[in-house]
């Protein structure tokens, strides 16, 4: 049973894990510099630059996006009462990837470059795509003032398929160079960001995440079905709508920043649910911290495995996450009926 004490202890434990992951992430990279150097002998200016302008922003972005994807995953799993839902299931990622891909084909336009700083073109377009998809899917899935979860799911699936087709179309008419950029964008890659922007990203992720944390007990009640939750005193319509919008926002931000990084939002919540139980008051914050740590480590692998070349982090999360997930399902799944 969950108590405030257990929640605090678990969160502290996962915070420590995240800090360790961040330290590892900062210590390893293609440039020859590590945290230990900083302690032992001080750093040259060049090394400081690598550490504070490249690696620190990079691991912070990875942590924020990993947290966002995991908590979106937990929330959508709670909303759909299905442990196999992931952040991309409701279709918003489709809109985001269309936006990102369109941006990549337009990025060389001088008019655009004058309007938006170049590193922001793809994220802004992708986020606009995510918002567009969110509004569209919400409109379509609202029937008689009620958000029907089943319809959301179907609309999302169809929207994703439609997005994929549209992206294939763009790819088929794109130049070879654009095609390369598109493929790598879609595979998922954490980007460095200027430190000033990371604060903004943190706020944009932490506000929806905190709002979702606050619904933990209502999510527990929702596991007994919409009607069951209503009869336990949950305003189910409001909960569903908020969950969809907040989770979709987080997903949209993550895809806008880093493309489609798979498995984080599925494996992390699932693993933690098997380990710590299904109580969402614990699962939500712990998944945020655990997902953050997972993506930081996966991104570190992506940066270092084939250095100086970089693997798409989505490839790493899928290669690590996929087999691990199957193993987990084989070992623990049978006993829970999941």
């Amino acid at each position: 049973m969950l108590t405030a004490r257990r929640l605090t202890l678990c969160c502290l434990g996962f915070l420590a894990l995240l800090l360790a992951a961040l330290a590892i992430g900062v210590s390893f990279g293609s440039g020859e510099v590590s945290l230990a150097d900083l302690w032992n002998q001080g750093l040259s200016e060049r090394h400081q630059a690598i550490l504070f302008q490249i690696r620190v922003p990079r691991v912070l972005v990875a942590a924020l996006l990993g947290g966002a994807l995991s908590i979106a995953g937990v929330s959508f799993q709670a909303l759909l009462r299905n442990p196999l839902a992931d952040p991309y299931v409701l279709g918003v990622s489709g809109g985001a990837s269309i936006g990102g891909v369109v941006a990549l084909t337009l990025i060389e336009l001088p008019a655009l470059a004058a309007l938006i700083p170049q590193p922001l073109v793809v994220p802004l377009f992708a986020f606009a795509g995510a918002l567009g998809a969110l509004v569209l899917i919400e409109r379509i899935a609202t029937v008689g003032g009620r958000l029907t979860v089943y319809t959301v799911l179907l609309t999302g699936a169809i929207f994703n398929a439609f997005s994929a087709a549209l992206i294939y179309f763009i790819q088929s008419v794109a130049s070879l160079e654009e095609l390369h950029a598109i493929v790598f964008y879609l595979m998922g890659r954490v980007r460095e960001m200027p430190m000033d922007w990371i604060g903004l990203l943190a706020v944009a992720i932490l506000i929806p995440a905190t709002l979702l944390f606050s619904h933990g007990r209502a999510f527990n009640a929702l596991s007994t079905g919409e009607e069951g939750a209503t009869q336990l005193g949950v305003d189910t319509e409001r909960l569903k709508r908020r969950t969809f919008i907040l989770g979709a926002l987080l997903t949209g931000i993550a895809v806008a920043m880093a493309g489609l990084i798979g498995f984080v939002g599925l494996v992390v919540p699932h693993l933690l649910r098997l380990w710590l139980g299904p109580d969402h008051r614990l699962l939500l914050p712990v998944s945020f911290l655990g997902g953050a740590a997972f993506l930081v480590l996966a991104d570190t692998l992506a940066r270092t495995l084939t250095a100086p070349n970089e693997l798409p982090v989505g490839v790493v999360t899928a290669l690590v996450g996929g087999p691990f997930f199957l193993l987990l399902l084989r070992r623990r799944g049978a006993s829970h009926g999941f």
């Binding site: 049973m1 007994t224 069951g228 209503t230 649910r273 109580d279």
Partner: protein
Amino acid sequence: MASDAIEVGGLSFAYGNRPALEGIDLTVAPGEIVGLIGPNGSGKSTLIRVVSGALAGYNGRVRVTGLDVATTSQRDLARAVAVVPQEPRFGFPFTVLEIVLMGRHPHLAGLAFESEADVGLAREALERCGAAEFADRPIHELSAGERQRVVFARALTQQPRVLLLDEPASFLDIRHQVELYDLVRQQAREQDVAVLSVLHDLNLAAEYCDRIVLLREGRVAASGPTDEVFTYANLTGVFETEVYVDTNTLTGKLLVLPLSGRAQRKLRED
């Protein structure tokens, strides 16, 4: 006169174009057990769902402990009304104790955790429902009958003034049926809880219900004290089948038995 715990007046409800309830009038006083009887599809479960606040868009008046169901928040409603559904659903492998503690949800402030007192209530309810031994087991490992007792314990933990039961005994063996309804009666008599219960078992209804509301095709076919409503004419009329009606010589209550097709043919030949 003390106001009724459940007041339903001129209630109509339709699923889309298909009417499910038409012109229902019904009251349940605190401490009273009212049985909702009728064939499949007669609107019993729909009526329970409307009174619980789970179905919006009805016409007519529905009040529970004086609260208008249409305008009261779900949270305030859930502090007054607990429901034991026909087929409770469980999406994630919560333990039995965690499920029962969900009954405290409407009583807890925003981010609050269950207090010692809440846990005490949950354990006591589990004890009374004969489910204390399951407390730490995942709900999925329990049989349908065991789950039903857990859900009943959750309803008790909600400390409601009104209990809505939708065939809570359908998966229970006879001993647990009786134990469950003994508990229901105890809640009604000692805590003044108003009970509205759907029942398929007419003999259980005869034993435990103070009054009966007989539904047929979404309308009230008959209502009144159990002995007056449970007549051969009413039952055969509503259920459209022959029944054997007698008196239980031990309790003096009505005894109703369905008759098989063969027995009915034999009856007609005689």
